[in-house]
Symmetry: C2
Subunit: 257 residues, 2 copies
């Protein structure tokens, strides 16, 4: 019999969130599970890492048992310190989530959940990010089933170097689910607005708010799949070079002379 | 005569840094300059945005004059709040930097400097990130010349939608410079290590450190250009989809049934 896979679980809603507990429980069917996650909520931290502050690690219990390690850092920090200093071995799989809130379209670049999986891919470890596309839906059962399926498939098939998966799950029941669609990142973003307020000490401050703006509507984009009650599975990479611009820039004849 | 271009300047080393002053001074030759930058250093914040805390804006003087606006947020926050709430107009160009330290190879994804330019591109504004590839070199004169040249070229030629430029400048003199090379993002990353220490109260903490690992060495990558005394100009975009994986994933026959 083959060895049980070792699975590192993290997220950006923090080690005490509902979503990470759901993911932990799902992964326990598949292998030995290790949780290393932020000790508090770290949404929209993007691909941040902590350079100027020391990182501290605490052990965390949930439901009366050892659950994992809490870190005063970002999701990307958790993957780095998890692999390099806490586990001191390379896990077979890294899963991040289950995030509450979608990670689709251009907003993927702000995602702490996805950044943890990206960090895993950079380290050469197959990695998947999971997001339930609702802030309020509290039923993680469909998300857990999808996480189990995707983790199994990735453990079987592997992933090419430098490729990770981002999986978004609509807030619906298994009966309502139409299927699983392979998608690309849509072009969409928030049209930001800043709400100006005055605090009790008469100082001005601003809250960021915004409305979602979807700039394309093809069937094969993440956001559209979700709207049509499909799970979206988007393969991602992290070489940001815009190849088509390279020859155009050469025509600019750049020189200080 | 055409209208003077309006240029927004930001960075991630903070509004009091040397690099932003050098960039501000260079841009003043080209147009009307507006500075909106973090009120403290924000390195390696990646593409973070601030959702859970209010943003505050202060006005900052340097050299006895109004210099710009300081924000208690990330570089991406500064671009958003700069355009939407402080300036309330769309600048013709956004420049970010001059960062102290390189933003090359895979480390680009951790860069606050680049994230500010990415945010500009998302908002449909031509944007450039500038980095001087040294933490200690204090002479910004070559960097300023390059920034002036690149800003001029981008104001003349524009940039396609969703494309930004990341420019890295080696810490050398103009005489030593071999030229300007159009490059792609190299494959390279830090091989992390965590140094474990014990604080005076006997609690463990960790510092992230690491050594740079370059995984390719072609002449057309950013990191190699710098090593050979070239300025590197890398066109970037922010659709992370790995297209080649889409058909392979379709063969996985994903289904819950």
């Amino acid at each position: 019999m083959t060895k049980k896979p070792r699975i590192l679980v993290t997220n950006d809603d923090g080690i005490y969130s509902r979503g990470i507990l759901a993911l932990y429980t799902a992964m326990q069917q598949l292998g030995d599970v290790y949780v290393v996650a932020p000790d508090s909520e770290k949404s929209a931290v993007g691909h941040a890492i902590t350079l100027s502050d020391p990182l501290r690690v605490i052990t965390v219990e949930r439901q009366g048992e050892h659950f994992g390690w809490g870190v005063n850092g970002t999701p990307a920090d958790c993957v780095k310190i998890g692999v390099k200093a806490i586990l001191e071995f390379k896990p077979d799989l890294i899963v991040s989530g289950i995030n509450q809130g979608s990670n689709t379209a251009t907003n993927v670049i702000y995602s702490g959940t996805v950044s943890a999986a990206t960090e895993g891919a950079i380290m050469g470890i197959p990695s998947i990010a999971f997001s339930l596309t609702s802030f309020t839906h509290r039923d993680f059962s469909l998300s857990a089933d999808i996480a189990t399926l995707m983790a199994k498939k990735v453990l079987q098939n592997g992933l090419p170097p430098d490729v990770l998966l981002s999986v978004n799950i609509p807030p619906i029941s298994r009966e309502e689910l139409k299927g699983i669609r392979i998608t690309r990142m849509g072009k969409g973003r928030y049209e930001e607005a800043f709400e100006k307020r005055v605090d009790p000490a008469n100082r001005t401050y601003y809250w960021l708010s915004g409305t979602k703006l979807l700039l394309d509507s093809d069937d094969d984009i993440d956001e559209v799949a979700i709207t049509h009650n499909y799970v979206s599975v988007t393969p991602l990479q992290f070489d940001l070079t815009e190849q088509s611009m390279i020859s155009r820039l050469k025509d600019w004849q750049l020189s200080l002379k």
